[in-house]
């Protein structure tokens, strides 16, 4: 044990600690530090906004996507992001906070995006997730459905699917499910 302690002292001398070390205080966590960096490196187009209910808590925030093209144009879609202390080992938890008609988002708000689950890697960052989310609104895809009815509609009749999207976005009912109004 003494040997280990003297190793520490040697290291300390080598670093030539300036002045007193002071009392120990809470350290910024690895997850916070990584999110701070990721936020700084985001590229948000004009179609995306973020909001931080508590600016001191950067691990919890909302992303709003307002597509300016595609079938979901004119809507404003809100997603809650929850990043845990195990980030970036764990992906962020993302949920849609509105009830929307989308083949890759279920009525509970769960999102089917590969990099949020099986393809998540710690080298990916928040920007990758946000780009992926934006893509879901430009290219909804029927092959990975979470809302099976919506996926069937998209596969079988694209025009009818588009009409359903418009109906749902204005708060209408599609296949007996009433959706939330999401127009800006």
């Amino acid at each position: 044990m003494l040997k280990i302690w003297s190793m520490k002292q040697q290291q300390q001398q080598a670093e030539n600690a300036e002045g007193a070390a002071g009392k120990k205080k809470k350290k910024v966590t690895a997850a916070q530090l990584r999110v701070q960096r990721d936020l700084q490196e985001l590229t948000l187009g004009s179609t995306m906004k973020m909001s931080f209910p508590n600016p001191d808590d950067i691990l919890n925030f909302t992303l709003t996507i307002e597509p300016d093209e595609g079938m979901y144009k004119g809507g404003a879609f809100h997603f809650s992001f929850n990043v845990n202390q195990n980030f970036p080992h764990d992906p962020p938890k993302v949920k849609c906070t509105q009830k929307i008609y989308h083949p890759n988002i279920d009525l509970e708000g769960n999102v089917c995006l590969n990099i949020l689950r099986e393809d998540w890697k710690p080298v990916l960052n928040l920007n990758a997730v946000i780009v992926g989310m934006q893509f879901l609104f430009l290219e909804p895809n029927a092959s990975d459905p979470l809302n099976k009815e919506a996926a069937d509609d998209l596969r079988q009749n694209r025009e009818a699917f588009k009409r359903n999207v418009r109906t749902s976005m204005t708060g209408g009912t599609v296949r007996n499910v009433q959706y939330e109004r999401v127009m800006k």
């Binding site: 205080k25 909001s51 600016p55």
Partner: protein, 436 residues
């Protein structure tokens, strides 16, 4: 002190501690001082391997042992007296590595049963059990130990204790450095490592050696389950959300597991899938890795043997990583894992920076651009509890802009650590701000 009986028990151990061997350090003084160093070392054993570790520590001569384990139902077990009764009740059907146990102990906390058992078997040892999570305890608690030995079953818990022990190191106080011995197993594979917080490679430096297990795509779970595990994931992630939204899922609550099990069973029936069991449900939702008793024994033995060597200095300790691969024959390999200079936990430890507390945050940021050791032109920065200034996204910039005009003394405390990121650098910086 030593009765005839106890001196017999420790005869072999004392041989190692009272005579130098070919590998002992030149400066080492064998004898009673070394023995008393061992007997007075307060040591902590934690996690699923904790019971096995506890037994080994007690039999290695440690006399003041603390143990943390959150295990509830599966009883404890000791090699030596086989007493295996398997029934199909919930309490004991999930015993995979619980090779031996006593019927009377079923349902009691593991740590307590283990403590009482070892105290009975090894005279003179004092064991203090705590039933709960390692995260329940704070730095003051961990500060009392000389060595921490962990056999935790989750990466999250490992990272937590790693960051805690590294954060505790105070250069002014050598005893704040707690050698941390980590053991882990996964089926027939395992590893033991010795971490000297801030001195050697840490868990976080080695994180990429643990590939996360691939998760099943949510879409598969939602629409076309093919395996019993998919039905369990569906019940856990989708059905629970729908039906019990306001009830946070607790993987340690047997009622919750039971609910998920029944929902999964129902779904499996619909899709004609066989093989959903309660045990599998528990494994999937808790992400339990299969545990093999003998792998656990090998790894627990390796970690406790390192604890003995570190506490007594009798022989050189593991430097620093031993992997054990038993899945294809047996292969072990020891190497020195390297400390990563940019490790977010042990790398770039906070450097002291003396500041004038009456300077505004804006003025401080300007000085960061000029200071030769910093040269940060576009920094964003925070403390553990406060976002001081975040340059992007615009919403957060607006929310933190007012801080720029505030004085440092109103934003941080003397001696507090801040973390700074700047797009010009791929690593982040930590500074401890000392008021002038």
């Amino acid at each position: 002190m030593a009765s005839a009986d106890s001196s017999l028990r420790w005869k072999h151990l004392h041989k190692v501690l009272t005579k130098p061997g070919p590998f002992s350090d030149e400066d080492w003084v064998p004898g009673s001082e070394t023995i008393s160093a061992l007997e007075t070392s307060k040591i902590l054993g934690a996690g699923g391997l904790g019971c096995e570790i506890l037994k080994n520590l007690a039999l290695s001569g440690f006399k003041d042992i603390h143990v943390i384990d959150m295990g509830k139902s599966p009883p404890i077990t000791f090699s030596g007296i086989p007493q295996l009764t398997l029934t199909d009740t919930i309490d004991i059907s999930n015993l995979n590595r619980q090779f031996l146990f006593r019927q009377a102990d079923i349902g009691k906390p593991k740590a307590e049963v283990a403590a009482a058992f070892v105290e009975r078997r090894v005279k003179g040892v004092k064991i203090t059990p705590y039933v709960g999570k390692i995260q329940d305890k704070d730095e003051d608690y961990y500060m009392q130990f000389k060595i921490v030995v962990c056999g935790l079953d989750s990466i999250e818990a490992r990272r937590w204790i790693n960051a805690t022990l590294i954060g505790m190191v105070d250069p002014e106080n050598p005893e704040s450095l707690k050698p941390f011995i980590d053991g882990g197993t996964e089926g027939f594979k395992g590893q033991a490592r010795v971490i000297l917080p801030t001195l050697s490679s840490c868990i976080e430096c080695q994180l990429d050696m643990h590939a996360p297990r691939p998760a099943v795509p949510l879409c598969t779970i939602a629409t076309i389950p093919r395996q019993p595990q998919h039905c369990i994931e569906w019940a856990h992630q989708i059905a629970w959300q729908e039906k019990r939204k306001d009830d946070p899922f607790d993987s340690d609550d047997l009622d919750h597991i039971g609910w998920v099990y029944n929902a999964a069973l129902e779904r499996a029936k619909q899709f004609h899938i066989h093989g959903v069991t309660f045990q599998m449900t528990q494994g999937v939702v808790k992400n339990i890795i299969p545990a093999i008793a003998s792998t656990n024994a090998v790894i627990a033995a390796a970690t406790t043997s390192e604890a003995l060597k570190i506490a007594t200095s009798c022989n050189p300790y593991l430097d620093n990583y031993m992997m054990y691969a038993g899945e294809e024959g047996v292969y072990t390999y020891t190497f020195e894992a390297e400390k990563k200079p940019d490790c977010p936990v042990c790398g770039n430890l906070a450097r002291n920076m003396t500041v004038d507390p009456d300077m505004t945050l804006q003025e401080y940021i300007d000085t960061l651009g000029d200071r030769p050791e910093a040269q940060l032109k576009k920094p964003s920065m925070r403390t553990e509890e406060k976002t001081l200034y975040q340059r992007f996204p615009p919403q957060l910039e607006e929310q933190t802009r007012a801080n720029l005009q505030r004085k440092l003394r109103d934003l941080v405390e003397d001696g507090q650590e801040i973390a700074v990121s700047d797009p010009a650098y791929t690593i982040d910086f930590r500074y401890r701000l000392l008021f002038k």
